[in-house]
Structure formats: structure tokens, C-alpha cells
Symmetry: C2
Subunit: 148 residues, 2 copies
Amino acid sequence: MDQINFSDQYFMKQAFIEAEKAFQKEEVPVGAIVVCEGQIISRAHNLTETLNDVTAHAEMLAITSASEFLGGKYLNQCTLYVTLEPCTMCAGALNWAQLKRLVFGANDEKRGYERCSPVLTHPKTEITKGIMEEECKEIIQRFFRKKR
Amino acid sequence: MDQINFSDQYFMKQAFIEAEKAFQKEEVPVGAIVVCEGQIISRAHNLTETLNDVTAHAEMLAITSASEFLGGKYLNQCTLYVTLEPCTMCAGALNWAQLKRLVFGANDEKRGYERCSPVLTHPKTEITKGIMEEECKEIIQRFFRKKR
């Protein structure tokens, strides 16, 4: 087993808090944060229903907000934490942003980018997965059970 | 040779006018429009530099604007015309939007979604390519020649 990385746990918890906010709004509960030099520079959760906009995934909103904070469009000094594996759209956006590191919680077997092509992210992006995997998966399952 | 579709030519010309606006702003010249029931409901051009945001591709802005116009997030009655083959991010977004029809001008051999995976778009989306191909390719080449 890998050594537990406490900052990854801490930051994923922050992304998870965002997912919980989405849940409260009856949005598919996915949350994301962007961290630069140990500091959280953006927080976002899925808002596709609220905004009537398929592009309003947590990751997309977090990227836009982080870029605004930094005053530049490249996130090559940043880590994005997201509770669920990004979809192909979000992986493509993270590729353009040249993200330094991607950390995600649960796999998304239906819509995750890895199912389609693991090379969608930028070749320099380091990837870590499975942080808070159970909680991140459970909140999604709970959401869809409630919807049915 | 396929029969010339005059509406496709007309609408691609409108997308091309958007690409020219991007060129004037020193943005990579890509333009897009969304057509619903024969009517243009959104127009957009690439604004990644102006907005400092990698997600601000012409297609993404056109999708968001079309959804706002329609008051719904699905574009399953719409055609998107774009001067350049969408990237993986934009193809992923068009998939989520369940776009009815995609028409693009020039292929993008470096960053186009087809190079990565032709199945990134929605299975129901009809795809037409090569409308105004030469002009759409030339404006991109002219842009990068000027940049060098």
C-alpha cells in the first residue's frame, strides 16, 4: 500500500465538501478544487442543472476560476483535486491547461476519460487516483438512488 | 462529389465571419454558430487569450450561449457549425449536449478529436466535414505564419 499522503487527504476532503454542496442543489455530486503552492485558489461544484449548461462541470468551473485568480491560462504549477474521474471534456480542458497534477477520488466507469483514452490528459500531468474513493463513490450512488 | 448543400455553405460562412473576428483579436481564428430550426441562435469565436481561459473555445462559448437561449441544456435539435475540427474537450461537450448534427470546415490533424478517438461525439450526432475547408484551413495557417 502507498504511504498515506495527508495533504492529498486534506485537499480531497475540501473537494468532497464541494460535492456535498452540489448534492444539496440536486446536482450530480462532483466537487473540485485547484491548489497552487499549497494554497486553495479555486473551489467549484457541478452546476449543469442550475446553469442549464452541459459545460458547467466542477472541473471546468474550477479551471476558469483558477485561471482568473492566476491571471494566466496555464495551470502547470497547480494540482486539481476532483471527487470523480474527469470525463473526456474535462480531461481535454486539463490537457489544454497543462495541469501539473491531477488527483481524483472514484473512477467513473461509464463516462470517465480513461475508458475512452488514457492519453487525453497532458503527457506531463502526474495522476493519482483513489483518494477518498469510497466516500466519493458513495455520494454519487446515493444521489442516483434518491433520483430513482 | 456530394451535392452542394447551400444552407451548409451559408451557415459555415457565418461561422467563418466569427473566425475572422478572432483573427482581428489575435486569437487562434476559430468560429462557431449554433442553428436551430433554420435560425442562428448563437455565435461565438475563440477567446482563450482575451479571457485567459483554456475552456473559452468557440464551440464551448457557442454551446453555453445556445443553451441559455433555449433554456435547456440539450442541443438535440441543433446543428453546430465550426470552422475547425473540434478538440477532445469540445467533442466531449458536444457529446454531453447530445448535439443533433456537427458540421466542420478543416480537419485539425494535431488537436482534432478524430485523431484521438472518433467515438468522442454522441452516437446520434450526424457529422459532415469539409465545408469551406480551404478557407477555414487558410485562415489558421495565415494566423500562425503571422505569429512566427
